[in-house]
């Protein structure tokens, strides 16, 4: 029997999740908390396998629950309505989330992943990434990227560039390691542009602090001597972005 904890302060939302879990009643036992403190205690004692966690919990947040608990041996699914900042942090840490009102299909997919326990891998570290992205302190920002065996946590400042490969993206670090992720380049562009990255080309997103030189003919050379084409329409904006650095 699997235990699923629903941490949610609004009853109708809890009801919605319970409705969506009804088909799995034989497999999954549910427990509900409505405040952060209750939830922290409940997680420590019950050790749930799956946690549905709302971002908003009265005067506290779901993040307080995570930082208040020591054991993170569960599959985490955040629930949110429209907190853009939080969504970005979820993406950086590759933590799953559902948007309210919850779409039945989305729920099914998320639950399946949780049952597969894929989401449990390196959850502690990923929560670390999540919290660091939410904090206002200037700490080292990381990104979790899903790999075959789980997750890799990379320092964003170590990423030299991302290259599009249809619906996949190759991430190259300064050390020359290549990661391939099944997400379009646009996904990483959305995350990394605010971290000093620039999309120089339909297929290339580069870290501006790795730029070694730029030739007016439209080629940028990175520190690892990779030469990349800067598309004509991006050249002006690229030079501006470099100057701003």
């Amino acid at each position: 029997m699997i235990t699923a904890a629903i941490i949610e302060d609004e009853q109708h939302s809890t009801d919605r999740i319970l409705t969506l879990l009804e088909p799995y009643a034989e497999k999954i036992k549910t427990v509900c908390f409505t405040t952060a403190d209750e939830a922290i205690q409940g997680i420590e004692t019950l050790r749930p396998d799956i946690v549905f966690l709302d971002v908003h919990l009265h005067d506290k947040t779901g993040f307080d629950v995570l930082s208040g608990t020591a054991h993170h041996n569960f599959s985490l699914i955040f629930i949110t309505a429209y907190e853009q900042y939080a969504i970005k942090a979820f993406r950086f840490s590759a933590i799953d989330y559902l948007l309210k009102p919850i779409d039945a299909n989305d729920f099914k997919n998320a639950l399946q992943k949780a049952l597969d326990k894929v989401q449990q891998n390196q959850l502690d570290e990923r929560i670390g990434v999540l919290l660091s992205h939410l904090s206002t302190e200037n700490s080292v920002r990381k990104i979790s990227i899903p790999t075959k065996d789980g997750y890799s946590l990379l320092n964003i400042s170590d990423i030299a560039r991302c290259e599009a490969d249809v619906n996949y993206t190759h991430i190259f670090t300064l050390g020359g390691i290549k990661y391939t992720i099944s997400k379009p380049l646009k996904y990483f562009e959305g995350l990394l542009v605010s971290h000093g990255f620039f999309r120089i080309h339909n297929s290339h997103l580069i870290n501006l602090s790795f730029v070694k030189s730029y030739a007016k003919s439209g080629y940028v050379t990175l520190l690892d001597n990779t030469k990349l084409d800067v598309s004509i329409r991006k050249r002006e904006a690229f030079v501006k972005a470099c100057k701003r650095l």
Binding site: Y82, L99, K100, P101, I102, D103, A104, K186, R199, H201, N202, S231, R233, K234
Partner: protein
């Protein structure tokens, strides 16, 4: 002719012979010692003493100090006459003891200015002018010397004799022998001459030289003998050496070699006693001529050697005077040069200041022009940026207007479901609507989004609407194959108002199922988007009942602003099909690629 004889210069108050001089000098110095120093009489005595002492012993170097002290005392007591004569004495000392005519001239001038500033001393002026004239003479400025002496003759009877004698001397020096003889004779006829045998003896001696020069040997000899007779009769020792030398010349000219040799030797002896080089030189010169005339070549040679040596050393002495003059000239030149460089410096400073000022003016003018140009450019840029900001804000506002418009229509649909009591459908619809809303909110953040995003939205929107109006209409979205939807940028939610109009107005009263065809294709450099429905006309009416749909008005404004921003020619066209069989909306946009 070798034996050039020097002129014995006639001084202003010259009378006594050597012995007399020394006697007077001694009594004077005794007198001075017994009298109070600042008394005017003492000062007069001191001045007298200086003059006497100078002619008794020209080499006495203590006289300068003595004269200076006299000057100071006279100045302190305000005794102008004393000051005048003290300056004059200093001039004499400079002239005769130190051979410094310029210094002498300076003192003479000072003395002269004292005379001119005190009317009572005006008569003393001429004595000083005489002193100045002798300096001119020494400096071979003969014309000026003559002018001064002639002026003295005209203005002062007392000095007439000395002046006349000196004019004669000057003409002699100028080799104007006839004029010299004329003035010597005139001086000899002067009444004062009779009372002064020394003066007379000197005049005869000089006259004999002139006769000799004129080639009148006989007259020269007789005149010389007159001079010698006077000297012997009165014991005028200080004229004797010169007179002997001149006499020797006269005898030589007359061919009386014995006498010539005798007087030459005598002159030589006296010259040696006095240490007078001029005398020695002319004596040796005359002797050389005498020996030569006597064919005594050995002695002639030796005399000549002596003569040459003396001449050289005298030339050196002359050179000293010359050097002095040169030094003066040099000092003057230096001062002049300094003044000139100062003037030049001032000029160059002036010039530099002027140039600098001009340069500064040019630079500041240039700077101002550049500054103005830059300022104008900056202002233009600012204005352009501001305009862009304004239009961006306008666009954002317009996009924002779509949201409530769309929201309320959708809320109406949800209301429909609730009315029909279809909770499951209401829930499904709500979730789809939420997704759609999210997309709208996200997309309307951007000025441009990829065409793929816009297509996703249209699809979602049509799904939502189909759900709301099942079986009412079908839709087809055509995208030309070659269009790279990820790369083409379009303004978000551009077609939504027209699709909405087709569904809400075109198909509302239509019995059969309606069809919407949405088309994206490229034509030249434009992206053509069209919404084509077969609903009852007026779905996208702009001409009909007059009231324009809010969506159409907003879209028209957006295109207008986009055209302005991108300098493009985007267009919106709404075509009503014949017989109320549908509406076709065409939007053409400049084709824009992200990369």
């Amino acid at each position: 002719m070798k034996g050039g004889i020097l002129f014995f210069l006639l001084l202003v108050c010259f009378s006594a012979n050597t012995q007399e001089l020394q006697k007077r000098l001694d009594s004077l110095s005794v007198l001075i010692g017994t009298m109070p120093a600042d008394d005017t009489a003492t000062i007069n005595l001191r001045n007298d003493y200086i003059k006497q002492a100078l002619f008794s012993n020209p080499a006495d170097s203590t006289l300068t100090e003595f004269a200076q002290q006299t000057l100071e005392t006279a100045e302190k007591t305000g005794y102008h006459k004393g000051v005048l004569f003290a300056y004059e004495r200093l001039a004499l000392i400079s002239q005769y003891s130190f051979s410094n005519p310029y210094k002498a001239l300076d003192y003479y001038h000072k003395s002269l200015s004292v005379a001119e500033n005190n009317p009572g001393l005006n008569s003393c002026k001429w004595g000083i002018t005489g002193g100045i004239a002798t300096i001119y003479y020494e400096q071979e400025e003969y014309d000026m010397a003559l002018r001064s002496f002639k002026e003295i003759i005209l203005n002062n009877k007392d000095l007439e004799l000395t002046a006349t004698a000196n004019i004669a001397n000057v003409y002699g020096a100028m080799e104007k022998v006839d004029s010299a003889i004329y003035f010597y004779k005139k001086a000899l006829q002067h009444p004062q001459t009779e009372q002064n045998p020394a003066f007379k003896a000197n005049l005869y001696s000089n006259l004999s030289l002139m006769y000799e020069k004129a080639g009148n040997a006989a007259l020269a000899v007789t005149t010389a003998e007159k001079s010698l007779a006077l000297i012997n009769a009165h014991g005028i020792e200080f004229v004797r050496p010169t007179a002997y030398a001149n006499a020797s010349m006269a005898y030589l000219g007359a061919g009386d070699y014995v006498k010539a040799e005798y007087y030459a030797r005598e002159s030589l002896q006296l010259g040696e006693l006095q240490g007078n080089l001029f005398l020695l030189k002319s004596a040796w010169g005359t002797l050389a001529d005498v020996f030569a005339a006597k064919n005594d070549y050995k002695n002639a040679l030796q005399a000549h050697i002596r003569y040459s040596a003396l001449k050289d050393s005298l030339n050196n002495q002359n050179r000293r005077v010359e050097i002095n003059r040169k030094q003066m000239e040099f000092d003057f030149e230096k001062e002049r040069a300094f003044a000139q460089t100062e003037i030049a410096r001032q000029n160059s400073i002036k010039k530099a200041t002027l140039l600098g000022g001009l340069g500064l003016l040019v630079v500041s003018a240039l700077g101002f022009i550049l500054y103005k140009r830059r300022r104008d450019a900056l202002e233009q840029k600012k204005e352009a940026e501001f305009n862009a900001l304004v239009s961006d804000t306008e666009l954002k506002a317009l996009r924002a207007q779509i949201n409530p418009h769309f929201i309320f229509n959708s809320l109406n649909s949800i209301g429909d479901y609730i009315l029909k009591n279809d909770n499951k459908s209401a829930q499904d619809y709500l979730i789809k609507f939420a997704k759609l809303m999210r997309t709208v909110l996200e997309n309307s953040e951007f000025k441009e989004i990829p065409l793929s995003e816009e297509l996703k939205f249209i699809e979602l929107y049509l799904q939502v609407e189909t759900k709301r109006l099942p079986g009412k209409f079908s839709y087809i979205i055509n995208v030309e194959n070659e269009l790279d939807t990820e790369n083409i940028l379009v303004p978000p939610l551009l077609l939504q108002p027209f699709i909405e109009n087709s569904i809400w107005h075109g198909f509302r009263e239509k019995e059969s199922q309606g069809n919407i065809v949405i088309d994206f294709k490229r034509k030249d450099n434009m992206l053509l988007c069209s919404v084509d429905d077969d609903g009852q006309g007026g779905s996208n009416n702009t001409t009909g009942a007059g009231k324009k749909s809010l969506g159409i008005a907003i879209t028209e404004n957006r295109i207008k602003i986009l055209n302005k921003q991108k300098n493009a020619s985007g267009k919106l066209q709404i075509l009503q099909k014949l017989n109320n069989t549908g509406t076709r909306v065409e939007v053409s946009l400049p084709l824009q690629n992200a990369f």
